[in-house]
Symmetry: C2
């Protein structure tokens, strides 16, 4: 068994542990932020952590109303620009904590008096030393080059950060997520049966929208690094602005399709793709019967719709990425590739 698959299976434990061990620090941060609400939020990251940041961007803006920006690290590292971050909250996210350019963004921001937070899996990393407040993803050492458990752990930390910033997220809501992650893991056998169909897939498009937009990036990244599939990633809205022209008969498209406010835009997209002869596979759950009824679908065996002040699909991203991770691990195996050692990659990436 690959390390990747073993680490995918650890996620319910990782999520439970991160939530339990970090909640106290989050409560302290919550009190601090009550008197010092940042004017805007900058998220700095690369690779999988940047996909988590993409999720954070939507979650934080939707639930707190504070404007959020994803940092472009080269503005600091290559251009040496001085950007005015004094009243901002700057959050660097890195599995290893050793990403030189995201660390530099954090360092510059801290010099300017910004509130800084580091989210990392490594307690002794450079990032943990640089940030004023440090939160740990309690994933244990991640050995596979393909990040999985640290991604979902980072998402959990971003829910906690939203809570600290005053969002209507309750820790009790978050306590349900590890169980939902277990439900997703129950899909392992179904996905193993599905993977051989895609043995000769050379390229694909992965689509998501809103809170699941980040998952489209992350699924595509897993397909690229473990299966060597050329995997594009788009929001269904952006896809209509040009890229849809690439779709022809038998073009494979993967879509994250929760119920809630994004579904009324996903459904016509699915119909357009069908008209064009594309083959679609939706990732959904039991609360979206219409999506489950599509010819090809993966449905998390639980009802994941939330009812309360937050968007209906707010807690779908973690349970939804797990079948996608399983799919990438299984497809890599079908293709005879080792997902733990992709060509040209190592665990810590040095930015050139």
């Amino acid at each position: 068994m690959s390390l990747m698959l073993a680490e995918i299976r650890q996620q319910p434990d990782v999520l439970e542990r991160t939530l339990r061990q970090e909640l106290r620090g989050v409560e302290r941060l919550r009190k601090l932020l009550a008197d010092r609400k940042p004017r805007f939020i900058i998220l700095a990251a690369r690779g999988t952590s940047d996909n988590a940041a993409q999720f954070g961007r939507y979650l934080l803006e939707i639930t707190t109303g504070i404007p959020v920006s994803l940092a472009a690290p080269s503005i600091f590292t290559l251009y040496g620009a001085s950007v005015s971050f004094g009243d901002a909250l700057v959050v660097a996210i890195s599995q290893s904590g050793e990403s030189t350019d995201t660390n530099l963004v954090l360092e510059r921001a801290r010099e300017q008096g910004a509130l800084t937070i580091g989210i990392t899996n490594e307690a002794k990393s450079s990032l943990a030393k640089l940030a004023e407040h440090v939160f740990l993803v309690r994933a244990g050492r991640e050995k596979s080059v393909a990040a999985t458990k640290t991604y979902s752990g980072q998402l959990m930390m971003l829910y906690l950060l939203a809570y600290a910033l005053g969002a209507a997220i309750r820790p009790d809501d978050l306590r349900r997520i590890p169980d939902w992650a277990s439900k997703s893991l129950d899909l392992e056998r179904d996905i193993a049966e599905l993977a051989p169909r895609y043995r000769f897939m050379d390229y694909t498009v992965v689509m998501g929208r809103g809170l699941n937009y980040a998952n489209a990036f992350e699924f595509a990244l897993k397909l690229m690094e473990t299966c060597y599939v050329v995997a594009e990633r788009f929001s269904s809205a952006d896809f209509l602005h040009g890229p849809i022209a690439i779709v022809e008969r038998s073009f494979p498209v993967f879509l994250f399709a929760p119920g809630g406010v994004t579904w009324p835009s996903m459904l016509p997209m699915l119909e357009m793709l069908k008209q064009a002869g594309a083959e679609t596979l939706v990732i959904t759950d039991r609360s979206n019967r219409e999506a489950l009824a599509r010819k090809h679908s993966i449905g998390v065996p639980a009802r994941l719709n939330y009812s309360g002040p937050l968007p209906e699909e707010v807690f779908t991203p973690i349970p939804y990425i797990i079948p996608a991770q399983l799919f990438a691990a299984m497809l890599a195996a079908e293709k005879g590739l080792d997902p733990d050692r992709p060509r040209g990659l190592s665990k810590i990436t040095l930015t050139l």
Copy 2:
């Protein structure tokens, strides 16, 4: 001849006209902004205009030090979130001015008292009515579905906006750009000779970094919508965080390679790609001899390096996108496709 090719050729005139006709309004805005510097800037756009916004993000942050964020329109349109934009400058960019979701972002921001600017090619559009300040890309009607002259016109407007915000850009610097665009058009015959080599290319990666990162998105979009090539787009930094695993023997990669601060990271990337057996094509100019010396290169026949307080390659994006546009138009012709009427697209895209 395709409308796309005809419109590509109009760009020197468009750029000269936009600069000349909009400068007075920009000077007025400059005076206004001297007393009312925004705390941050939000850019809202879709499709090609969003690629222009991506350029604006780098240009404005580097040259003004004001934090910039690219809006995620669904946060407003689908989630109905209320984001705090009162002291922001919100800029919506749209060729047609009829993009419902970017218009909604602008409308919400204006209700909150934000300073709003619309950049559009259509003086009578909804966007032109909604925005407090309107700047026109003077491109004339754009008839091809594939946007070209409006992209470079939008880039010109973003240079002018940087100037209005106090950047060290002088209108005299900008007056050189139409001539450089003409120099790029001189490449038309060379590119026509190059295109057949790529007749059977099914997928590719386009790379850029910093100020040319947006061009990677825009070139990839042209390849998708006019040539139906599955075209990924990455910064060379992000490409190392996973996606590089997809590169195998004969994998085609296009790179924007100006001199200046991004070149020392592009050069090792080119070497890594060569080691992996990829075939690279660089787009550069006479000021980067090392790039020009690569086996496959397109060199704008001028020296485009700027010397002064701005980054050396600050004025390369417009002259560099033109050979890419020409390449897409020529390759579409080689493939027997009509770039003016891509399958599944129309000039105004309604967001679902």
